[in-house]
């Protein structure tokens, strides 16, 4: 996802000071953990069930956090082009030329990071659309999220100096039932004959219903969801689809805020770490197989035992 703006070695790019703070945090957490669970430290099951998974997640959290802190001191970070997000100008331009509205579906999610990220993208589209006087209709299925979205969209109009242009009917709570929401959003897309249709957030079976409705009216469609099972439907029916962690990179990409881009660097470094762990696991498993360390129906021995211990380090914490 990221690449430093100026060429420099990997080691030189490491945020040493922040990583030291992160290491200190990990050490402090370890001390707290040992104090709290002092009675169990000799129990292997306790470490495997409650400790190892937490240490891994805490380590990754500290890594991302250290890069966020580092980015506050550093310069801008290059983020590669994400076509779906670059298309915002195109979709708004098309809607402006055609004199038709844009619909933005926030999906079925409640007040969680998935829907908040979708709202951030929606607000960017709305801010662009306000400049051209184009209408954006935001639809949602969660009343808690409705309260947040209504306030944020209203604020966007006020910040653009056009509070009077905000229409209460442009942020719509349709229904909290999945297919009632789908039919309502679908009807809206067809009745308004929208020029562009965005679908960002938590989607399930209704994803394709909405995407096909947009297709029927010839709308440009941009979609993004972290729900892996729905990504193929969006790819089949939409012009642009945001895949995987691109979804969470959206705000960094759209705002170019160094702190947000810094978190992308942290994500990428975390990914490198996980890839290294996987590579090591593959090597260990292969070597254990070749040396007979994984006999069928018997306890692992030799390298097999090492592999067994290694895999236990990455067991999900209870």
């Amino acid at each position: 996802m990221e690449r430093s703006s100026a060429p420099q070695s990997f080691l030189a790019s490491l945020p040493v000071r922040e990583l030291s703070i992160a290491a200190g945090l990990v050490a402090a957490a370890a001390i707290v953990g040992l104090t709290v669970g002092a009675g169990y430290w000799k129990t292997t099951e306790y470490w495997q069930t409650f400790i190892f998974g937490r240490v891994l997640v805490f380590g990754l959290t500290a890594l991302v956090l250290s890069h966020i802190l580092h980015a506050r001191r550093g310069g801008p970070v290059f983020v590669r082009r994400i076509p779906g997000l670059t298309a915002v100008d195109e979709t708004v331009g098309r809607a402006t030329e055609m004199g038709r509205p844009i619909t933005f579906s926030l999906g079925l999610g409640g007040l969680d990071i998935i829907t908040l990220q979708a709202l951030a993208v929606a607000l960017h589209v709305i801010r662009t659309a306000i400049r051209f006087g184009t209408r954006v209709i935001v639809t949602l299925a969660d009343s808690t999220m409705y309260a947040v979205a209504d306030e944020a969209v209203r604020e966007s109009y006020a910040a653009a100096g056009r509070p009077e242009s905000y229409n209460v009917e442009d942020v719509r709570f349709l229904s909290d039932r999945q297919f009632a929401y789908a039919s309502s959003a679908m009807g809206l897309i067809l009745r308004e004959r929208v020029a562009s249709n965005y679908m960002f957030g938590r989607f399930f079976a209704e994803s394709l219903i909405l995407a096909e409705a947009g297709n029927q009216v010839g709308a440009i469609q941009v979609a993004g969801t972290p729900i892996i099972t729905q990504i193929p439907f969006f790819i089949a029916a939409c012009d642009y689809t945001i895949i995987g962690d691109e979804y969470y990179a959206a705000t960094a990409y759209l705002t170019r805020e160094p702190v947000l881009s810094g978190s992308l660097v942290g994500q990428d470094r975390s990914k490198m770490f996980l890839i290294a762990v996987m590579g090591l696991g593959v090597l260990l498993a292969t070597a254990a197989m070749l040396t007979g360390g994984l006999p069928v129906g018997e306890a692992p021995s030799g390298l097999g035992a090492v592999l067994d211990g290694f895999s236990r380090l990455f067991t999900e914490a209870k």
Partner: protein, 316 residues
């Protein structure tokens, strides 16, 4: 000291309720009337404290026996469920906002007789029917302390479905005739109006919308599989192999290849398993890893209020 449980009674209950209301009203007033800087500080502070609680609740290892996180005799796990209840109460209030939004939009459509106003009339009719009959039927569950006795055999207030004056008893005690609150007897399905609306109308319309998906999958698949690029060709070939590998016809086509011979991997069901298990699953997991790490970074940014400019303009 154990964290106080929620089982409060009498004056304790009312004091706690009034205290909670007071705190909530205070925070709301602060957010509403304060200037932007104070408002921002309150929101950032609340977000940080709430995030910190769950951060500690997750990262501090629990007790091996109770599997609950206890720090300095403060049970974080139990407190988490109390906070969860509070969040549900807040969500309940926001539901009223959602209803207001629906009524406002559909009311405007009817008032101005915009195109499709009849649909808005249908909305109001459906909305009122569900609310009235649901409340009329179930109000005892919420407000009548004797209600459990009406449906428990042996209790003096029990309404015996086999009794001679059953219908009049129901009408007297429940203030609702049988067509509104059909007492369940002999495991037969209820036949009151609410059940008719929910099971007979809503459920079927829900299923109808779901069934539309089948047709949309076909049209989306047709567009995706049209061979216009190399990628589309690969997609098409892979899809055909996987589809054939899942059905008996596909397995029949290659069952002449020995199942335990050198070329058994060329049988369609084997290729299908290879594509699903060795190509599709790892790719999905890789995407999942990326999403997980992205979610972690996003959660950190929200917790520490670093999402600058994403929701509200800087300095607003």
């Amino acid at each position: 000291m154990q964290f106080p449980s929620l089982q409060l009674a009498g004056s304790e209950f009312w004091i706690a309720a009034l205290l909670a209301l007071g705190v909530a009203a205070g925070i709301l007033a602060l957010v509403h009337f304060a200037n932007n800087q104070v408002k921002r500080a309150v929101i950032v502070g609340c977000a940080f404290l709430a995030g910190l609680f769950y951060f500690l609740e997750f990262f501090i290892p629990p007790d091996l026996k109770s599997e609950e996180v206890i720090v300095l005799r403060w049970n974080l796990t139990q407190t988490g469920s109390i906070i969860g209840n509070a969040a549900q109460v807040i969500a309940g209030f926001t539901f009223l906002l959602g209803i207001y939004n629906l009524v406002h939009i559909h009311g405007n459509i009817i008032r101005r007789l915009r195109g499709g106003w009849i649909n808005s009339v249908a909305f109001f009719a459906a909305f009122l029917a569900m609310v009235v009959f649901a409340f009329w039927r179930d109000w005892q569950n919420w407000f009548d302390p004797l209600y459990p006795n009406y449906i428990t055999p042996g209790k003096p207030e029990f309404i015996d479905p086999k009794g001679a004056t059953f219908a009049s008893q129901v009408a007297d005690k429940l203030w609702a005739p049988l067509w509104v609150n059909d007492i369940v007897k002999d495991h037969k399905p209820r036949q009151d109006v609410y059940t008719l609306l929910f099971e007979g109308v809503y459920r079927n319309m829900d299923a109808t919308m779901f069934s539309i998906l089948a047709f949309y999958i076909v049209s989306a698949a047709y567009r995706a599989f049209r061979i216009r690029t190399r990628e589309a060709a690969v997609l098409m070939i892979t899809a055909v192999i996987v589809m054939l590998g899942q059905v008996p016809l596909g397995q029949f086509l290659t069952n002449w290849i020995p199942a335990d011979g050198f070329f058994h991997g060329l049988r369609l069901e084997e290729i299908n398993q290879f594509v699903l298990g060795q190509i599709n699953s790892p790719v999905q997991r890789a995407i999942g890893f990326g999403i997980g790490l992205g979610g972690l970074a996003m959660a950190l940014r929200i917790w520490l209020s670093l999402e600058r400019g994403s929701y509200f303009e800087e300095g607003s």
